[in-house]
Symmetry: C2
């Protein structure tokens, strides 16, 4: 079996090509609005771990047993468009006010706030369009894929989580609220990535629910590790401003539970995620998905 | 036949109920993110002419000949969600910086910028979800409906138009660029409203293209009239800040062509729109759609 980092890197290359193909509509005259096109390209090309698309592709493999992941690539691209959109809006001065993202100046620092708002909007819309028009899947799969992503990115998903996050800057949150915030803000879209891979492979309801559980556990673990890195990590490696949470007295998993308990909880969630993989045939992709749990747990950026 | 204003009013009531039903997911715990829910409700309830949903419903009638418009109501609601989303983001300080909208303080004046950004995002996502899950249409119709709206709201549609609009605040635009701006910013979504009504009624390709032409002509006329009202209108009636374009030296159709030529062009476009209605069976809804052209041309808010 390939080393996990190698596989993630290989998928990232395929994904980047897919996203560029989708963005490059050469028959369209961009005259007058080149700026927002450049702004979208800037953030889409900025790299990142590409974990969400990786999950789409791996769950497609886990269910279908196919090594050709072409059919799931549009869904993978859609997840990355949506994730990138949320990062652009999150970094805005009115939101987290972050100057750096993925080791580069954040979108609004380069293109200004107005264009950054529009670029985030454009990527959100493109995300839905990309799922709805996946030529390798049926109308039914595509319609269900759109519902899955819009619902979990929407007001009772990611957006709701971001609203809780904003309140956490002004007030102390308790652990239940922090968990809810992480579940909504991060867990839902990690889980949706897993589910979209399943939808592309016509998975059973049972598999879809197992994929969702894997994603929710992994997502919460991922976010706890993020909070830990903000305290322990190194800015150079993370490619973003660190120590911000403490500076702004933001409630985090770590500030409420302490470092030790946070590390234990992340580990337990990671184990829970691994157990969810029992619903998938051995040998397809479950080994990589198991490894991913450790990969994310022991990362330092 | 009913008076047009009465019909628009009746549809607005049906639409408002539909939107409230969609927004009211009573099984969901809003704990922690009530603010963004309130922010969405605030703008969705703020009224407005509801022209886009009206067009969805009327084109559904024009094609199907049915007076029961239930099947098209979710698409109509989706159009209004998308439109409302664009208004919330448009009013932001980084964009048009408008304090008033539909006679009330704009969303960010009440809920703050961060929540207004999230509310706009949420409505955009809800718009796609609402189309994709229309229970009265097939998966094929719903997937095509999502593609239609996302494409024309997206970077090569409404978003592109808004980017041109932003540039117009800093530089002089020529007439071609202003037309392109209006076509993208307003025309595309007016046309999409007409097309969505057609998709819900399983219209022919020919009818879809005629509906699109009607919408594009009407949309440009509508926007020219908007520019005229900004110069001639009364703030109280329009429910928003007027005279802003001149104050900020923004290039508009009127500032480039003058009032007389603008009025002539709006009238000619309105006639062109009426001619597109020949593709639809007489008596279904074409009379109302004809009247709508005059209604929008001679409005004063």
């Amino acid at each position: 079996m390939k080393d996990l980092s190698t596989l993630i890197g290989e998928y990232a290359v395929l994904l980047t090509r897919e996203m560029k193909n989708i963005l490059d509509k050469s028959d369209v005259s961009r005259f007058g609005y080149e700026k927002v096109c450049d702004s979208v390209d800037y953030s889409v090309s900025a790299g990142g771990k590409r974990i969400r698309p990786f999950l789409v592709l791996e769950f497609y493999k886990a269910v279908s047993g196919k090594s050709d992941i072409t059919a799931a690539l549009p869904y993978a691209a859609a997840m990355e468009f949506m994730h990138t959109s949320s990062l652009i809006h999150d970094d805005l001065p009115a939101m987290d006010n972050d100057d750096m993202r993925r080791g580069k100046p954040s979108n609004h620092k380069v293109f200004g706030e107005a264009t950054a708002i529009l670029a985030g909007d454009a990527l959100m819309l493109l995300s839905a369009e990309t799922i709805a028009s996946n030529p390798h899947c049926s109308y039914e799969q595509n319609a269900k894929g759109v519902i899955e992503l819009m619902k979990h990115a929407g007001i009772h998903g990611m957006i709701g989580g971001q609203q809780i996050d904003l309140l956490g800057e002004a007030a102390d949150l308790d652990l239940d609220t922090i968990k809810k915030m992480h579940r909504l803000k991060t867990g839902e879209l990690i889980a949706t990535s897993c589910v979209l891979g399943c939808i592309a492979a016509n998975a059973s309801e049972e598999q879809i629910e197992a994929a969702r559980e894997y994603g929710m556990s992994l997502g919460l673990a991922f976010q706890i590790v993020d909070d830990i890195i903000d305290v322990e990590g190194v800015s150079y490696k993370a490619g973003k401003t660190l120590g911000k949470d403490a500076k702004y007295k933001k409630s985090t998993y770590v500030s409420v539970c302490g470092l030790e308990r946070s590390k234990e909880d992340a580990k337990a969630l990671s184990e829970k995620a691994k157990n969810s993989l029992l619903a998938f045939p051995d040998g397809n992709a479950s080994k990589e998905l198991e490894e991913l749990c450790d990969f994310l747990l022991f990362r330092n950026n």
